[in-house]
Point group: D2
Chain length 325, copies 4
């Protein structure tokens, strides 16, 4: 478990490094932010990667903790009393093996320790599922902002030659389900009988190798996927414009209230314009510019400032500095 854990930490650090690079590279690439699958307000693509970077950092800490707890050895005899062998021998051997000595055992090391390890892997799996799911969403035909890179000679669908499917991201989502499921036997293995029953053993022979190997595999797959991901800047830009500026509605409303309108009145004015734009599929900025009521409160310069996309990214630097990126 210690050795497998060390490989996983290495994998996680590779993923973190790739996410760092992507976060920095796309720090200022505007992209529409989406909540409920619906356009909300702009973010930058770099912020998305930075968020995953931060989550990966937490996962590294969790995994290190789980490995540390699991890095124990024992030679304490049939029921943990060291009846025939001094605890000093255990201490000597564990030191040689760079393992800690447990404070107390029964015939075995308590399975809460193995459980924490397997469940930490399940949490990391859930994070990978999150990242992979996002890529799948962003690769759907109508969005197509990101794409899994095709290696030379790789075929897509045999029927539609242009069809490229996010199959690696889908595979990662599927395997995360296996990692998640393994947390249940790990939890059930804790409550053994007396000084030990061996029911945990057959289950551990499945879940310990499966969870460690699958996480290693999945981490490598995802790191490569992200390293080579294709970024379709045109689509990102086009999607951002899809609602023709409607994502500025909140800010106009706030500005109108600064000028003395009640929030209620401001909301009503902006809502009417926004609804109309949405229905007619026309440009929000134009309608705002031409609205007599709004012009009473806001100058053209002020409206220009409101519709300046950069305004949304004022604090990107600050966020990145928090992350030391």
């Amino acid at each position: 478990m210690k050795q497998a854990g060390e490989i996983i930490i290495k994998d996680l650090n590779s993923l973190k490094e790739v996410l760092k690079q992507k976060a920095k590279k796309y720090k200022y690439l505007p992209q529409i932010g989406r909540t409920h699958g619906v356009h909300a307000e702009p973010i930058t693509l770099g912020l998305k990667f930075a968020n995953w970077y931060d989550e990966t950092t937490r996962n590294i800490e969790r995994m290190k903790y789980a490995i540390d707890v699991a890095s124990v050895g024992m030679i304490s005899g049939a029921v943990g009393t060291y009846s025939y062998l001094s605890p000093k021998i255990e201490e000597y051997v564990c030191k040689k093996l760079k393992l800690k000595t447990p404070k107390i055992t029964s015939q075995i090391i308590s399975r809460d320790i193995h459980c924490q390890y397997i469940n930490t892997i399940a949490i990391i799996g859930a994070s990978l599922e999150k990242f992979a799911l996002e890529i799948r969403h962003l690769q759907r035909t109508e969005v197509l902002e990101l794409e899994e890179s095709f290696t030379k000679g790789q075929k897509g669908s045999s029927a539609m030659p242009h069809k490229k499917n996010p199959i690696t991201a889908e595979q990662i989502c599927g395997l995360a389900r296996i990692l998640r499921a393994n947390s249940i036997p790990a939890l059930e293995n804790v409550a053994l009988w007396h000084e030990r029953d061996i029911s945990h053993s057959s289950a551990e022979r499945v879940i310990l190798p499966d969870s460690t190997i699958l996480l290693d595999y999945t981490l490598n797959k995802l790191t490569n996927l992200i390293k080579n991901i294709v970024i379709n800047k045109d689509n990102i830009s086009n999607n951002l414009k899809l609602t023709k500026g409607l994502y500025n509605s909140q800010y106009i409303m706030l500005k109108l209230t600064e000028k003395g309108l009640t929030r209620e009145d401001a909301y009503k004015i902006v809502q009417e314009i926004a609804m109309n734009c949405w229905k007619m599929n026309i440009d929000f900025r134009n309608e705002v510019m031409n609205n007599k009521l709004i012009k009473k409160y806001l100058t053209i310069k002020e409206i220009d400032e409101i519709f300046d996309l950069k305004r949304f990214f004022t604090n990107v630097d600050y966020i990145f500095s928090r992350l030391k990126l």
Copy 2:
């Protein structure tokens, strides 16, 4: 989550304190150790409690870690960009609330954080299930070493007036299943869409209160159960003698090899005697004493030393010192 966590930490400390007292009180009370549900070699009842004490200590550390990770607040706007409000305000408010400021968020705090919290509760639940399961085992009619204490006037079965059932321990085992199950939605809530979808919300409204309240309830139940547990010393002593000394067979075998016999020969000699005692239900020590072959190698004094129960507990002090108990 922070506040609920603090109550849980308090509960865990109470449990730990009770386990400490029981461990110390029964430090030298001999009890048969069991593996596979079958008698193995003697332990002391104090060691059993000490093992739970140690596991509870690990659970406190895990829970503190989970609370620490979860003790974050955020005011970062619709997609986490602080478009209308400075991150300084977030920092100010979080400080007031004694929460940390997250480095980065989307519309919400990443759900790996909530997942760690719920899964930590599931692990603690599994430990409580372990302790409660042990009590159920030790209260079964044929064993009856421990018993849930009856409050004055409490009735057992209406049919058999003497029948006392370990219903609290059984209840704890059942509720641990709920805590365990809740780890699955917590893991599934991590992979949300884009800057947030709200699918996690309806699930969290169930699992966050259920897991925290049930763990608090279960911890209190178990702590009281253990605090007032009835220890049937006679039964503990009688069960220890059930196999009429057979648990000393390993040590005799080892002593014979020290005297020059091969392990193979020693095993064969001891096995024959042991098998016979087991079948005939006769005293192992007598048979050893009267065995001509053994008498060639071991003096009566040496045999007496082998059959001295205290020998098994040579390292109990050392184990307790490791635990600082």
Copy 3:
């Protein structure tokens, strides 16, 4: 469980009826079919509903089976031997209650029966999650083919007045996680000790009401959602055209092979044209029409037939007749 089950069957029949209506209404409304989130070949919206209709029919059968198995009563005494009361009384009482008499019990009815019931609810929950997930996908801004209907006066986001989120569908996805999780304690409750231990009881007090009530709630929510769903035919039509006819590539290839080309050659020719159209965002049909090689094998009439959208729906009637729709 029987009574709750009957309510659920009624709910399922309501859902089935709504799905039937939608399937028939949109039987011939062309919509792009998607695999891997990527455009594949056309289906009709009615087929999608028909598929859900079929799945719901299976769920009704499963639920009826689970209710039937669970509709048993018992009065068999402390350990199932009818020591003080004749089994005839059990039979009489069960008949009055319209329950079956079990063939044999211990103190309790075996928990595999309750487990089947709870796990069937989990499967139904997973189906509802599937339908709700589809609606969420089809409501995303870039797709916007379906929309949860807004009741009069319902507000969307306070910031972006036009923003309508699929919150009911999201809620259903979240609650399906709870239904799924409850299958684990139900499975763990089967293996009780001897003639019964009571560990299942505390867990069942949570999962039986939670699963039945949540499924009832979720079924009603989803049935209403689908009944009132807004169908944006323009968007459905526009999305279908998004790849400018590329979904016909497979059929052209097949037609070319009918005319004597090897599949390899046909694939190569079509792939080249398709790739070019995809890159340049130009109309696939035009390119096919103007391709000299293809014109050698296919007449304009034949190409027209290939590009006739109706061709994809030749067997829709047959599928519906299989479903008796």
Copy 4:
């Protein structure tokens, strides 16, 4: 899935046959019934096996249902519309393969079908866990009523030659955890995107072979275990007498009420005697015989009838006839 299912049905029938034989063989062998792990009233060992026989019969029905639902094939094209191939071909091929034709598919057969199959295996696994757990309980040293048979030459513990552990039963309990866990990915695989995403595939490559192979293995292990189980009749008889007749207390109480005492008074009288016997570890029958109050109401002949063990088994024949055993 169909073929694997048929092997499992065969396995289940073998188990059922062995349980039938054991049920009939031990139909009248008295054994103490236990609830909460505490002695309750007598059953027969045959009743225990008969209960498992009944549960296995239900599992066969469940599995047949799951196999029947899963025995479908499909050749319906990229999105289920049979665009290039008539549904008649699908029907022809499926008939040849002895599979049913589905009424409707997307690119794939809906995963609720696979889910039912894997979850049915999980339920069967839970039943096997129940049977194996019972054997483990009955093999514990203090009980030792049943024992896994040792093959010639099989060693127990290397330290204690007589120590025989129920390792097969423990292994079955462990593997049931894997079968149970696999139900979660199966449930998560239902909600795929649109006409199919491939996330289910990587998970199914693990859970479909693992669950079917492990269930086959576990069924064979358990069937052999039960076929060759060692029945220690002396221990069964001794354990039955452990409470020195206290399990008759309910019946005496009922008899006293028949004679005109209020239930309250009868309970009080019997309780006092029972408590005293329990504390003093003396024979309940003697105390009843010598109790002046009781002698006022019950003749010696009546008391003899009450203490006749056979009384508990009056309805065993009837139960067996319900099971057609």
